[in-house]
Symmetry: C2
Subunit: 235 residues, 2 copies
Amino acid sequence: MRYELYYWPSIQGRGEYVRLALEEAGADYIDVARRGSGTARMMAMMSDKRSDTPPFAPPFLKAGKLVIGQTANILLYLGGRHRLAPKAEAGRLWVHQLQLTIADFVVEIHDIHHPLGPTLYFEDQRPAAKRRTREFRDERLPKFLDYFEGLIDRGGPYLTGRRLTYADLSLFQIVEGLRYAFPRTMKRFERNVPGMIALHGRVAERPNIAAYLASDRRIAFNEDGIFRHYKALDL
Amino acid sequence: MRYELYYWPSIQGRGEYVRLALEEAGADYIDVARRGSGTARMMAMMSDKRSDTPPFAPPFLKAGKLVIGQTANILLYLGGRHRLAPKAEAGRLWVHQLQLTIADFVVEIHDIHHPLGPTLYFEDQRPAAKRRTREFRDERLPKFLDYFEGLIDRGGPYLTGRRLTYADLSLFQIVEGLRYAFPRTMKRFERNVPGMIALHGRVAERPNIAAYLASDRRIAFNEDGIFRHYKALDL
């Protein structure tokens, strides 16, 4: 089966967590909106009155007849099919729980540059963004990263032990993104989370991920995505 | 089996979505932190170095040996056990997708009064909150509610058709909370979403839910929770 991934064509965004899982799995997929009139097709699927299960927003994945929305939900589906999560219920729920915690962190990372709401431009909310960054750096960033580090500390080298799951791929992306958005902050902070940095390196070296990162399927970070590099918001 | 729910004892918050599911199911549970030294026990479970699966934050549910965190993940677990979601994969994923969309909406509702971050007081971010409210009222509230209304329009009376799911219980709570937090805004807006208002009424009349709402197990809305009534933020 060839999967169809629907996501905005010019950013990594939330679609990237799905792309990383598909790539690691070596799955056959097309990134629909990056081809021809794919974005129009994506918009049409969201507003299709005949669909019983229209997604609220991208990303969503077409898998045969299924159309699955919400990043963590897509990963829940893929995890069971591509050995990116345990099959047994306890392990499956635990990996999903970690993914949802990563999703919460992603929201807070996004809110740094959009504290006054998602539809205003960054330039229109710069002072509020600076204020929010302070709280993020002093409270939230350490709280989330220390939590994940504590899990790796329990055994490692991955979040849940010796086997890679989709949550590890997402945590890799978190480190990638934080390094891009806040290089100075991360330079100072990384010494506190050696397990996570090692995990990041280990994921980057997996053959399918390494090939993906070197390909033009990987969109570069930019200031339209979730992780944005604004000097004013770094240390 | 008696479930143990762990959540902050003085607010509805995210725990309420779990409480509503447990109550509708007529499940045997205790709301641990509302008894004696329950809050201390909850904190100890989160920082327990011997636990392999410590939750990042409440709510979490102890179900036998399992400890399950993240609201939507807890509902995914309960849905299959208490006929609050379809058993087949497609339906199960669709209901979970709706729940995750509701969770995104809850984050935006919370951010209205905490645009500069979760650890500052509302009083310290009032102007930013007023600014964010405008965007919420004009853009985000209609976008989310119209989406859910469109789903009910496809058949109803519930989100996915004739059978109640945990996502309907959560949507009930959204209407309850919005009415509490923004009574004037909602008074004007409700005429646009008659299906959702009917769904709310239908859930409120279900025997187990009606009994719960009338009991002291239901904590009253207050200004420490997610839905807060600040006159400055209403119309």
